[in-house]
């Protein structure tokens, strides 16, 4: 079939809400965009393990330690499904990791902020996993089959994380005065970066229209951000904590919360690499990868030796 006919068929298919599968024909730009989006998402999962993994050895009770271990293990699992989904598009995990390590690939900027008190683990679960759910639930219906299916599994676990994070915040907000102070401090530091997780405003998001047409993005950044704020404000009220935005208030007419101006200067700087932990995160990932090279090589060498031995026995 001619390229143009294929394109027509692809467009119709997507318009009919049918799933594109790895063996189906797809436009190059669609494939490239998907690889970028899925790998960024995968990188976010594994870089995201660092600020939280940070607290495993210091969790304040054995129950919290176990819950955190399970959570971070889930995030590693998400990374694994997503790299596998990206691999169905004809790239290798190692290539994608290389792009992460040399700075060509991005990951969610939120993980460039430090976790400096235990309430940060609560705030991440509550706000960051909460924002991730907002972003990801629609993707369970995206046009690319393997990505949509990976998202279904991921979203189930993210909602656990969100509830567990809220529970940490609740225990601290209702705890001793010091604990409440830590909880408020965490909310102060994580609120605005969480809003930034939805990306630039619609006016400044040039690729969004195409992605929405391809159904690999189903709602606009501003729409999702508003939904997140509307969901989260009442939760902060339950906690008895104050959201650090003096302009935040219910707008009866709109049926939504109005909120203050996001610091876009900070947003673009953190993306550019100037966040408090950008360097540290990438260096940690690169070091883990480099230090593990001899282990991965050994595993390959051993598998080859075994295969060779099996062939010998078969031949004999």
């Amino acid at each position: 079939m001619e390229e143009q006919n294929m394109m027509q068929r692809f467009d119709d298919y997507v318009a009919d809400n049918k799933k594109i599968e790895p063996k189906d024909w797809m436009p190059d730009a669609y494939r490239k965009t998907l690889i970028r989006q899925i790998s960024q998402h995968a990188h976010s999962e594994i870089v995201g393990m660092l600020p939280e993994g940070n607290w495993i050895t210091r969790a304040p009770s054995l129950k919290r330690k176990a819950i955190l271990l399970a959570k971070v293990q889930d995030e590693a699992g998400h990374g694994l499904y997503l790299y596998s989904a990206a691999e169905t598009l004809g790239v290798e995990r190692d290539e994608l990791l290389e792009e992460l390590h040399d700075g060509r690939a991005k990951y969610s900027s939120i993980f460039n902020y430090p976790t400096i008190n235990w309430a940060d683990i609560g705030a991440i679960g509550w706000l960051v996993d909460g924002a991730a759910i907002m972003n990801q639930v629609p993707l369970c219906k995206c046009s690319y089959g393997p990505y949509a299916r990976a998202m279904v599994r991921v979203c189930k676990e993210e909602s656990f994380h969100q509830r567990q994070g809220f529970q940490i915040m609740l225990n601290m907000a209702k705890g001793t005065p010091e604990q409440k102070q830590m909880a408020q401090d965490a909310l102060n530091r994580w609120w605005w970066p969480s809003l930034m997780m939805f990306g630039p405003t619609d006016a400044n998001s040039p690729h969004s229209a195409q992605s929405m047409k391809w159904k690999i993005k189903l709602f606009s950044n501003d729409e999702l951000r508003q939904r997140f704020i509307d969901m989260t404000v009442p939760q902060a009220e339950v906690l008895g904590l104050t959201i650090p935005d003096p302009d935040l208030k219910w707008n009866e007419e709109r049926g939504h919360y109005d909120f203050g101006e996001i610091n876009w200067d900070e947003f673009y700087n953190v993306i550019k690499g100037n966040g408090p932990c950008n360097k540290q995160r990438i260096e940690t990932r690169r070091k883990a990868y480099d230090n593990g090279a001899w282990v991965r090589e050994a595993a390959v060498a051993h598998a080859e030796k075994r295969a060779a031995r099996r062939n010998e026995t078969a031949a004999a």
């Binding site: 210091r58 969790a59 590693a76 694994l80 790299y83 883990a288």
Partner: protein, 251 residues
């Protein structure tokens, strides 16, 4: 066996799991591949789970109102009863795997026997944990074989790891008076018998991995009696600092 002796014996079991689980938790996000990050975290999670059951029971038995967290976070190093092996630093991946392998083979033998313990709670905890311990033993043994029979570099590295840690293995299977009392009471097995099986099983894997078997030379001991290496104090400082800084807080 007195209640105090039994309490102390339980601390040995619980602290081994807690301290090794804590060590493995340090790996999270730093593994050689994503699959290993998941495996090491999973093993850490199993061990913390075992520690929680055992320490909870120990606290009940002691009857002084100490729960799992009081025991984990409010004892100092000299009150910990884990073997020296489990508090040794992670080192590189091979060091961690060697430590795990030497411990897992012991834990597997021990837990199999503890399922027949005269203490029903101990037997129940062992029965609940045996599947996990069996998986841990398979995971570490497979890595010993891969690294030993992998590349020249991995062979040299894992051989060195095994050699370095060997002096901590005697403490696992050499009984002291408390181990003997636990055996006499039917709570725990005869460690001297486990020692033979441990050697047989460990040697078998090392041979398959084309590795040399170290001589049973001078062995370090003391952990079971509360005399630890320098490492434990640092681990506890990190692990305990939040609960100790805010002793009235619930998390």
């Amino acid at each position: 066996m007195t209640q105090e002796q039994k309490f102390e014996y339980l601390l040995r079991l619980g602290d081994n799991a807690l301290i090794l689980g804590q060590r493995l938790g340090e790996w999270c996000g730093h593994g050689p591949a994503l699959e290993e990050d998941i495996a090491l975290t999973n093993i850490s999670l199993d061990l913390i789970g075992q520690a929680r059951s055992i320490l909870t029971y120990a606290g009940e038995l002691e009857g002084k109102g100490r729960d799992e967290d009081k025991l984990a976070f409010f004892r100092d190093a000299h009150d910990f009863r884990n073997v020296l092996l489990v508090e040794q630093p992670n080192g590189h991946f091979g060091d961690t795997i060697a430590r795990q392998f030497l411990y897992d083979h012991f834990a597997w033998l021990l837990f199999n026997e503890l399922m027949q313990s005269s203490d029903e709670q101990v037997a129940a905890i062992a029965a609940k944990s045996i599947k996990e311990v069996t998986y841990h033993r398979r995971h570490s043994s497979e890595w010993i074989i891969r690294l030993g029979d992998g590349t020249e570099e991995s062979h040299a590295k894992i051989q060195q790891s095994i050699n370095d840690l060997w002096m901590y293995t005697g403490e696992l299977y050499t009984p002291d008076a408390l181990d003997e009392a636990a055996h006499a009471a039917g709570i725990a097995p005869d460690l001297t018998k486990l020692a033979d099986y441990w050697h047989e099983n460990v040697h078998g894997v090392l041979k398959q991995a084309t590795l040399d078997i170290p001589e049973d030379g001078w062995m370090q001991k003391g952990g079971k009696q509360g005399i630890h290496s320098e490492h434990l104090g640092f681990m506890l400082a990190e692990m305990q600092h939040i609960p100790r800084a805010y002793p009235d807080a619930q998390w």
